[in-house]
Symmetry: D2
Subunit: 320 residues, 4 copies
């Protein structure tokens, strides 16, 4: 098969680096460029290969059918427009085009498993946030099958590795500040992801309140989310329910035991476990889900979407 | 002031080590013995000092007015009885005598701040678990002032450093297995602590369901608990509420920002922060609390109780 | 190409797990069995696949042309003999058959890059230790080209991730004991590796003393070795020297900067950097080398040797 | 005893923070000010206490008999001069006044145990670097008793926790970049410390070459140094030698086993172990020493020097 040139805008951050690494191993897409504003002319190593960063202004979008934008939130939408104007198709990994953000560019939400048809047709796809991916995947079949109690309060506690905060020169993200520490955070970031999740749940017709508390873990990568979902009625066998709901999905695993970060690191999967909560008076489903925030939570899902957009096997080039 | 001999049963585990270290720096209590079944004759270093472990059978309880038991759950109650029979007063750090465990020995629950009078009079004190300490301290004023909504579902997500799992030769606790990992757990341990918390809440007259999910962190020490508490009505200023509720408490801190593990490691404090949850339809209080599981969650609170039992200043020898 | 059955003895430890994972992705070898004494009937997950452990006694070596032994030191030689008697060819990852250990079974030393012809012909190969791999690879061209000063004292300081110590239930390897720690060790293990390195250097005709100090790092995987090698005369451009010496080697990288563990984790490479030491009176070469102790230091190199033994492309199924 | 006001210039970095913490617990010195250029008006918590940073320009040195400078290298000397001109006595923790740096201000080198008399009399003391403290302390008795072989090459490999690199917004020091990593470094920093050590050794009359390789550890605090010292003749019992050499020293410990970082963290000690190297032809002493880089390697030793300068018990306020 002939190769399809693919470029990465904002390739020097964590998600961009991950995406470049995946593209270097992809059998059809071929890395055409990798931009990095601050480091243009600089290089990065990917195993035995070296990639040289260029300036986004130097890019020929007309010659690049596929563009990924890992640019910072706020800066991405403009470059998406430029690339689209030249005929490129784009997967945008920023917040800019996601549900609830009032974007002027319309783009289907690339939570792949629940939006395949629109993604296949799309010129631009809004790639989901990492937290929303870990949370919305298990919520989707519950909401879609109307199992959630009306006006329920769904509570989610998530913990993320520090690559979720980006490759930024911040003293609060130094090793010396985070080792042996753990904290709740999430006013700024948390809210942005909360908006994205609420808008998506509303679009799905869910009548729920969502309470979300993110935490920062002293690990590099991975997100673990613990959900409590009030149901209309107990589900007899929650694992069987999810196994049926996700049957045939190559990137969703239903586990016999609560997943851990080690189960999912460097893999493009959402791993889910669930049980009915004992000892409480209402029917309450507890779900634990895990993803790699840089793979299924960012670069991997972006590539999964791109595979669909270009009519390829959805699993091409993705680590399982 | 003359010194009071104090002994530690089960001194080779994490809580026992911490307690021996605190006793070596205590101005009134004086380390009389430190037992370790498997390591008798062995030694442990505490800064410039070295302690030699002896067998519990060799101990003269009659000459030791104060005994701490850090023996394993199940084995502790018997030694508490033996020591009590010889006239010692005991702080038991095991589950054995805690609320909800059906113990034959009656012992006040040593959640110090809420039980001072019984502790002062007690021959035996049941020292609280680490998770319950982090959770019950902020719940206490809410329950006691009847602010919690009737039949509420209180949900708690906690994360603990690995010393909470003890100094046991288990492959699942090896560094190579836990670094860069994070997981929910808590069938065994979780349930025991859940029983302790439910029994205590019931004793306080609370009509609540409690859902508790513990997690294992790749850090050595510290517990962070995130609580969601449905209220009868919103509290206008939750920090002011807690500041008033805990006024004068030397070991409870109300913080302006969510506490982190670094704030409390190696200190005998519970640090609490709270806010009313926005974006949800019901009045919902979110609380984050942090402790050092080995200090306020074990050895430190045990020493705090012992200080009270012997009529000493409650803060003696405790790191703040 | 038809698949070749390959079995792993001792598959539940770290090296065995790594090897099973590599075999599951190998295009020619096919996992025939994975034994685990203590866990027979137990299972382990490898991404989406699950492997069930069997007892070594149940294995049909006659049907398994290729066997890897990851059995403990001391126990491995006997099983190598059994498998060989049934016609299998074996790569032994234990110390048992390595240089200097007085083994009764003769086996070429599988430091692949320097022993290809004997490995290709061998029935049994002694796979090198992890430390020796990181140290002997850069020493080899210096010794072979007689650049080392006569009777020189070569000093090596190495640091290894904790998987090097195995998946053993030892309290000194618990996360709580090793996080935020670092130590020199190496009487037992160090000496065994020292014997292996000395015997190899002697076989190469080197007239050197070797001083070796291993350290234990709070990381899961990786070895970094820092060597100081007195030379007969300065090398003008040490990087150019190593680039020429290792030209064409697929698994040896000569780097422009000192390598770090991140450069080599999960890859079957030795990464080497060198410089002449300034500020000292004698010609002294400083070398820094890095490997993944479980890949190039164990399972990866074992598979590299097996590829050669079966006439396959040496790089098949190996992560670069 | 009346309290002596003491100020800290540059209190927002790691060494400054440590020093402020120690001063808050000191029985005689009393924190008068803590400056932080970038964060003036900002605050930092030290257990239950909060400290507000001021601008250095606002400080009244005439009212502060004791000043510690934790200012950046290059910026410190000027402020030392200003403070001295107002009558303050100063301990400077920067490189600026250390041996080999060609400082215009003369200041005794505060490697306390070997320079007590000059320190007691000094107006300004140059506090040693962290690496030099860990290395020069065990070298001192060997050099001073002329045990080192003439023209010997002394080789030192050290590994430091990341607080040694300071609290700077550098992406290469982020948690996500350093966890599970380990590296040699040390052109810049290493050389500065090498200059300091060479100048000190020369001042002691040592005829040695010194080779020094620093490494960066994924831990917050601590330095472990491994030294190889060629001797004129073997020392029969190296531990006995060091015990005698350091007899009576409150802050130097000679250990029966190689020290680890856990042995020294948060303590103002150098912990030393040594053995004669077997298996090599020359008499070679191997030494392992450990310190906390922020305590004995910076703030603690600075306070130890200040205690001497003000005629106090040298151990006052220092954690052992």
């Amino acid at each position: 098969m002939h190769r399809i040139p693919a470029g990465v805008l904002g390739a020097s951050g964590y998600a961009g680096r991950e995406l470049v690494g995946l593209l270097l191993g992809h059998p059809v897409f071929e890395l055409a460029f990798a931009t990095a504003n601050a480091q243009q002319g600089g290089t990065a190593r990917f195993g035995p290969q070296t990639v040289t960063f260029c300036a986004p202004e130097s890019v020929d979008f007309a010659a690049t059918p596929l563009v990924f934008s890992c640019l910072p939130h706020g800066a991405s939408a403009e470059w998406v427009s430029r690339a689209r104007a030249k005929g490129a198709r784009i997967v945008d990994l920023s917040h800019d085009l996601r549900p609830g953000h009032g974007a002027s560019i319309s783009a289907p939400y690339g939570l792949t498993e629940f939006n395949r048809a629109p993604v296949q047709q799309a010129t631009v796809v809004a790639n989901p946030g990492c937290y929303p991916t870990s949370i919305l995947v298990p919520l989707a079949p519950l909401v879609r099958q109307a199992l959630v109690a009306p006006a329920a309060l769904v509570t989610v506690t998530s913990a993320s590795g520090v690559t979720g905060a980006g490759l930024s020169p911040r003293t609060d993200l130094l090793f010396g500040e985070l080792t042996e520490d753990y904290r709740a955070y999430g006013t700024a970031n948390g809210h942005r992801h909360l908006v994205e999740m609420r808008a998506t749940l509303a679009a799905w017709g869910a009548d729920v309140d969502l309470h979300f508390t993110p935490h920062l873990l002293p690990v590099a990568r991975g997100i673990l989310s613990t959900l409590l979902v009030p149901l209309r009625a107990p589900i007899g066998d929650p694992l069987a329910f999810f196994r049926e709901a996700f049957a045939g999905e190559p990137f969703i695993e239903v586990a016999d035991d609560p997943p851990t970060l080690h189960d999912v690191q460097r893999r493009n999967v959402v791993r889910v476990w669930a049980t009915m909560s004992a000892h409480v008076r209402q029917p309450l489903l507890q779900v634990v889900s895990a993803i790699d925030n840089l793979v299924k939570g960012a670069a991997g899902q972006a590539l999964q979407n791109a595979n669909l957009m270009f009519g390829l096997d959805e699993t091409l080039g993705l680590p399982r």
